[in-house]
Symmetry: C2
Subunit: 170 residues, 2 copies
């Protein structure tokens, strides 16, 4: 049954109601900025990464990156991880603490300097990384399908340029 | 004075020491994934945004986006903001609470449903947005300088494609 005045089914509000600004209208200017669009893209990518992971210890890209580097370089220190991944020590320690509690990572104590702890995956950690890698590959394959090989290559180039932003003359 | 054995100045450790894996080596595989490179680029962009802001209430891109949308659409509701910006209600409420405490935003109470609060910038909020916009424009200009007009356009296209990632057939 439709509303005689609006021609719309009962309960539907016409989208052009001036008291209900369109979502797109609200962000029209923001959509012209790289910073905003980059953030929205990252939200979508983050969500897809998580959606491709099976139940387990790895649900976020950052967790995957940590396990992957430790797996690739057994004995890597927390300091090296921070430098390699661009993460703050405080955040790294929290993440490694969690992995240690879950039995995925073990710290090889260095008595002289606690900062020099070398990190290793346990057998359970190696398994978790293997499962997480399967999901991460599915996720990256979906991105490749969406962008095409050339689009993907160009995107990586442009993103890598952006990483040098601090070097641009003020 | 150099070390006779290594030819390096005293105190310098040769970068090829096998016990000190190169930072780049640690992340070689991650650097081939869009997800990782996207995140590293976003860290750089976030840092530059903050660096171009003068002392004040806006230090993060998300705070800028909120003030910008409220400024553009006085009376916008919290629900509309969440939908427009893709942020969780809980996080939005925290941010608006902080803006309210700082005297930049006021809530127009709706007695029937607290969720329908309409938001407005105060005069101080309008000033804060104006200053933040100056900084945001400098930031975006640096990005444009770095990427060039074409690079910028292509990057935005590719990032917008990424935003549709959830629609890719599993």
């Amino acid at each position: 049954m439709t509303n005689a005045a609006t021609g719309l089914a009962h309960g539907r509000r016409r989208e052009t109601n001036p008291h209900r600004p369109q979502t797109a209208e609200l962000t029209r200017e923001l959509e012209m900025s790289v910073g905003y669009v980059l953030r929205r893209a990252q939200l979508a990518v983050f969500a897809d990464f998580s959606a491709r992971q099976s139940e387990g210890a790895v649900s976020r890209p950052g967790q995957f990156a940590l396990l992957a580097v430790i797996g690739r370089q057994p004995g890597v220190t927390q300091t090296q991880l921070c430098a390699a991944l661009g993460i703050k020590r405080a955040n790294l320690v929290v993440a490694i603490d969690q992995f240690e509690r879950l039995g995925l990572v073990r710290r090889e104590q260095c008595d002289i300097d606690r900062r020099a702890n070398r990190l290793h995956l346990t057998p359970a950690g190696t398994q978790a990384l293997s499962r997480a890698t399967d999901g991460q590959r599915k996720h990256e394959a979906r991105i490749a399908t969406l962008l095409g090989a050339n689009g993907r290559r160009v995107l990586i180039e442009l993103l890598n340029k952006l990483r040098t932003l601090s070097e641009v003359a003020a």
